[in-house]
Symmetry: D3
Amino acid sequence: MSAKDFSARVIEVFTAIHPLDRVPRAGFLLRGVTEPESVSAHSHALALMAMLFCEHYPRYDTARVLGMALVHDLAEARIMDIPMPQADAYLKEAKHEAEQAITEELFTGLSPKFAELNQEFMDGQTDEARLLRALDKAQMMIKVWCYDREGRGRLDEFWRNPNNFKDYGVAEVSDLFDAICAAAGHPRPV
Amino acid sequence: MSAKDFSARVIEVFTAIHPLDRVPRAGFLLRGVTEPESVSAHSHALALMAMLFCEHYPRYDTARVLGMALVHDLAEARIMDIPMPQADAYLKEAKHEAEQAITEELFTGLSPKFAELNQEFMDGQTDEARLLRALDKAQMMIKVWCYDREGRGRLDEFWRNPNNFKDYGVAEVSDLFDAICAAAGHPRPV
Amino acid sequence: MSAKDFSARVIEVFTAIHPLDRVPRAGFLLRGVTEPESVSAHSHALALMAMLFCEHYPRYDTARVLGMALVHDLAEARIMDIPMPQADAYLKEAKHEAEQAITEELFTGLSPKFAELNQEFMDGQTDEARLLRALDKAQMMIKVWCYDREGRGRLDEFWRNPNNFKDYGVAEVSDLFDAICAAAGHPRPV
Amino acid sequence: MSAKDFSARVIEVFTAIHPLDRVPRAGFLLRGVTEPESVSAHSHALALMAMLFCEHYPRYDTARVLGMALVHDLAEARIMDIPMPQADAYLKEAKHEAEQAITEELFTGLSPKFAELNQEFMDGQTDEARLLRALDKAQMMIKVWCYDREGRGRLDEFWRNPNNFKDYGVAEVSDLFDAICAAAGHPRPV
Amino acid sequence: MSAKDFSARVIEVFTAIHPLDRVPRAGFLLRGVTEPESVSAHSHALALMAMLFCEHYPRYDTARVLGMALVHDLAEARIMDIPMPQADAYLKEAKHEAEQAITEELFTGLSPKFAELNQEFMDGQTDEARLLRALDKAQMMIKVWCYDREGRGRLDEFWRNPNNFKDYGVAEVSDLFDAICAAAGHPRPV
Amino acid sequence: MSAKDFSARVIEVFTAIHPLDRVPRAGFLLRGVTEPESVSAHSHALALMAMLFCEHYPRYDTARVLGMALVHDLAEARIMDIPMPQADAYLKEAKHEAEQAITEELFTGLSPKFAELNQEFMDGQTDEARLLRALDKAQMMIKVWCYDREGRGRLDEFWRNPNNFKDYGVAEVSDLFDAICAAAGHPRPV
């Protein structure tokens, strides 16, 4: 691929994901949080958290973890953020297929690696994917705690849902969940 | 550092940067863009763009580039985004020192690498830093083009300022600037 | 059902749909419209438009048409507004089932009529359902025209998509589509 | 009136009320609720609530009740929502005349029924008008309770004002007010 | 009045006008301007403009002009901003009486001068009041021009309404209106 | 300066400060207050508070105090609001110089008095400047109290920082600080 073609594709990718910085995290919007975190902001925080973990627990492939964090929600620039419990209950497979197809289309002509990272994240079978899926929840729960302390929204049900504390077998994130619950003064739900 | 201490520090870092998803990119806000990109969203887009470049031009140290992208604006969770021309004209050194000091404080007790990445980015001497500083501008100008097409704000002066197209000697980003200008129908300012 | 039980159910319904006034119409948000119409506001406008049509073309069952207009998007208080082309391409059946299930659950213990109205709208077989589905598009396209004239967002692709002008065989709405296109200065796409 | 003329009038009505989805409910805005319910959203919720009541208590003329709900606040697309206590204290007659005149102008050339519905609502003499005026308050108080639980705004004075619980002699709405107060843990003011 | 009583009154005044910084200028909101100027921001700009005029044309009583600018819209913290044409057509006297009564109540126990300034502004008989009423329009039209250049809203009718260029016989503001129209490329309507 | 030149300069000043009504007060934004006070709104409230004090304590030069209030934050239309503790710790002198230079440039060709007022405020040596600097804090703390009662943001640290209650030796504002703390139920920090 020529530099010129590559530049053209880069422009297409970033105009395609341009709306992502205004796509609200649905779970927060629906519970009364005004000016909630965008999907872009979530992705940034998750990637940063992953970097801290990969530095501290060096057994992970950092580049893969960061890559997954950066791409895992790009499809929401097209399909919006569909809230978890409803998506899980009704749309699970269809939603995954839609997001994978949108991600593949987004990166057409570029490295197949990017869409593979998205698939790896959704499959959740590798150590890297399991780390990131657990951190995806941890980042959310720290945000919930921040909103709680700012009086924004009605988020108490987040603290009662064990799915929000799934560690996917990653001990270090399990420890983080414990610390979050202790700091916020909530028991960790089981 | 114990897992417990590490978890505690992670929570502190992410509560400290929590406001970043509502810190507006000042240059856009001041030119009439409503609901502008947040600093978090910018950081996510920059990291993603960097990943595309590192994959396509494999001579860069991907982990360092991504690390710089993820940390380079974290200090703005404390000090807000100060718009470029004014900051450059009046505050340059003081602003850099402030941001470096805030970044170091943010990561106290964690790896020194994170604050070093921020310093490397601001120094702009390594290939990785120069790539990212050039992409920092390119990401901004693609966003400007998106806003232009959506009728959001009055951004024409962005297209006339050569500083917004500084390639820091990186040929592949220079090519991207050319492509952006061509797509948007503007001559590239010199 | 006692008055007391009925009151309790009413409170539950309206606390459940409370978020709907902040659920943005996804198609507008994703195309750069800031402060876009909420799903609630859309439902109000659609019901009002339906009332005008039922008064002018008295062959429709007004109560059924208004009932469908008022309930047809309530499920989005749980599942958000999923943008049309993506939903149609990937989620069609699953999305309909999810919305119907959520609507049924919402009205549990109240008249089965409300969920039936939602089903009738989605099936689109009755005259009333076809009228309302066509008006659903017409209301959207008048809104697009209003946004265009206010310089909000980049909505030109709406004018090129024949799906946005589907009249479902209802001549009077076909006439309205013609009038909208004429007023806005666009040819009606076929 | 030809189909063509009717279409033209429909377009005029909906471009005229287009701003209504951004007109904030003044009582909420002034008490610190951010991103408050719009007047359009309120109208939708009120119409839906009315439909539930008409189905459960079938002695009302549903079409008239729904019609009143859909038109009763359309004038606010021109004159904004003027908060109740001040409007009542100073502007009462003038405000009603203004709203009726704006409503009549809005529907010029269409059925006189729509403006008559608005007048009927403001006069409050029929069973249908009294039901709807009482529900207008009930919808507001359920919203207040939702905001209270989300930590949005300072709305305690709503619970102390008997005018917010006026049942206009409609026993079934009086019962709803009791249920709202009981759920929210407030005594019903008298 | 003791220092303690004065402090108590000051706190009451500023908690009473606290909402003013979120009361939108209605004429802008209703014409599609998102994140429009608040009434507080308008008052600040008007006072500043008045100061420039009083410095340049020293025949005015500066303190009275500034005082009027600072108080002339405080009542809108209670009654919101009612858009001009509708208020003029239907509510004129009642609105003035309401605003004066609210202003008097706001300053109860403090100097009667503040409410007198509001009355002087509304009466529009003194040189100072006429200067400020003319500047009230000029500030608005400069804002309209800024919004036009930012692509925010559909404000063309502002340029066609002679009431928006009323100089109240103040030659220096008439000159400013000419300059605004010339800069914006519109003829001044008569 | 001709009337024509003066008009031209007035237009330039007000187009330059146009963004100020959307510049958020950084301290509030960073602590979770959504839709926070703008810098313009703050300036209006401060000027009004100053007017009340100058009327009640007539030893001050009212015109100078009001002038300082109206100009003291205009530079933020260019440089945004940089939050206090970080600005004080890192940028103090550079920030003051930047703001003074921007203010001088803003008023180029107009009376030098306006930029002098800004300098006088920053120097804080005159009675008028000290009064206004103290009121600058008092206005902020009343706002904090209003936000606290509306459940907006997490502002408790404001009540613990003695810098937010600096009276600059002005007894009457010290009394106001005492009253604010008493009303809000916080001890005044020392």
